[in-house]
């Protein structure tokens, strides 16, 4: 039972943190960055638990499982072989953003 994070998934997370960091500096409002840290911690925690119950959309994207984070802001796209999970992307949901 393993979970591996693809480089683009980590870059997705990095991009979200950097964007929050830049907003926090510009406003300035450190809370924005603190909130982003908390969100990323949740993504990491929920992503790390994906080797448990499988959640997916049949045939939405072939071979890809999709998991929406509990706060509804991000979609984790991953592959699963048995109990081994490879996380491909961490993308904003439609509700969380206008685009990917």
């Amino acid at each position: 039972m393993t979970v591996a994070w693809g480089r683009l998934a980590l870059e997705d997370r990095t991009q979200q943190l950097v964007a929050a960091f830049e907003r926090a500096v510009a406003l300035p409002d450190p809370y924005l960055f603190a909130a982003a840290l908390a969100r990323d911690d949740a993504i990491e925690s929920e992503g790390g638990a994906l080797d448990g119950a499988a959640v997916y959309r049949i045939d939405a994207i072939r071979g890809t499982f999709l998991y929406a984070t509990r706060d509804g802001r991000y979609l984790i796209a991953y592959q699963r072989t048995g109990n081994d999970v490879h996380i491909d992307r961490v993308l904003p949901t439609r509700r969380g953003s206008d685009g990917v």
């Binding site: 393993t2 979970v3 591996a4 994070w5 693809g6 480089r7 683009l8 998934a9 980590l10 997370r13 990095t14 943190l17 950097v18 960091f21 926090a24 500096v25 300035p28 450190p30 960055f33 840290l37 990323d40 990491e44 790390g48 939405a60 994207i61 890809t64 999709l66 979609l75 796209a77 490879h86 996380i87 491909d88 992307r89 993308l91 439609r94 685009g99 990917v100």
Partner: protein
């Protein structure tokens, strides 16, 4: 201008056998249901009292069936010879727009996933990923503190 009658009243009159005749009449933009009462004609009204306009005979028939009325006349004089109009359905337009946006969103996800699958760089284990992100978070946190201090000292 024909007086109107609300659905609840029409139901009571229908149950009492007081509706002598029912006509579904074509008008510009839709169909109107008119009941012939003892002394007058009344058009079926909306809840706010205006004449209710049905999209077609079938729609009117469904409501009339609820009143137990299955025999009625259809007067299509007003649209005789006219091309059938295409009635817009705002609800369907919204649904189609939503479907289109869903498809576009799904396509963006599909492309993002394809990009990840084509990435040959090795993935990081959960532990290594945690360490990698923790280092980034610590660095950004330090930079934020520095930036905020610099900002407050320049004020």
């Amino acid at each position: 201008m024909v007086d109107t009658i609300k659905l609840a009243t029409a139901r009571e009159l229908a149950a009492a056998g007081s509706l002598r005749d029912t006509t579904v009449t074509a008008e510009p933009g839709g169909y109107v249901v008119t009941f012939a009462l003892e002394n007058s004609d009344r058009a079926l009204a909306t809840k706010d009292g205006t004449t209710r306009l049905f999209s077609g005979v079938q729609a009117a028939a469904r409501v009339l069936a609820q009143l137990g009325i299955t025999r009625y006349r259809v007067d299509a004089t007003a649209i005789a010879g006219a091309e059938p109009s295409r009635r817009l359905r705002p609800d369907r337009s919204r649904a189609l727009k939503q479907l289109h946006e869903d498809s576009a969103y799904l396509e963006r996800i599909r492309e993002a996933v394809a990009e990840a699958r084509a990435d040959s760089r090795p993935a990081l284990s959960d532990t290594d990923a945690h360490l990698h992100m923790a280092a980034l978070k610590a660095r950004l946190g330090d930079e934020l503190q520095t930036a905020l201090k610099r900002r407050s000292s320049t004020k």
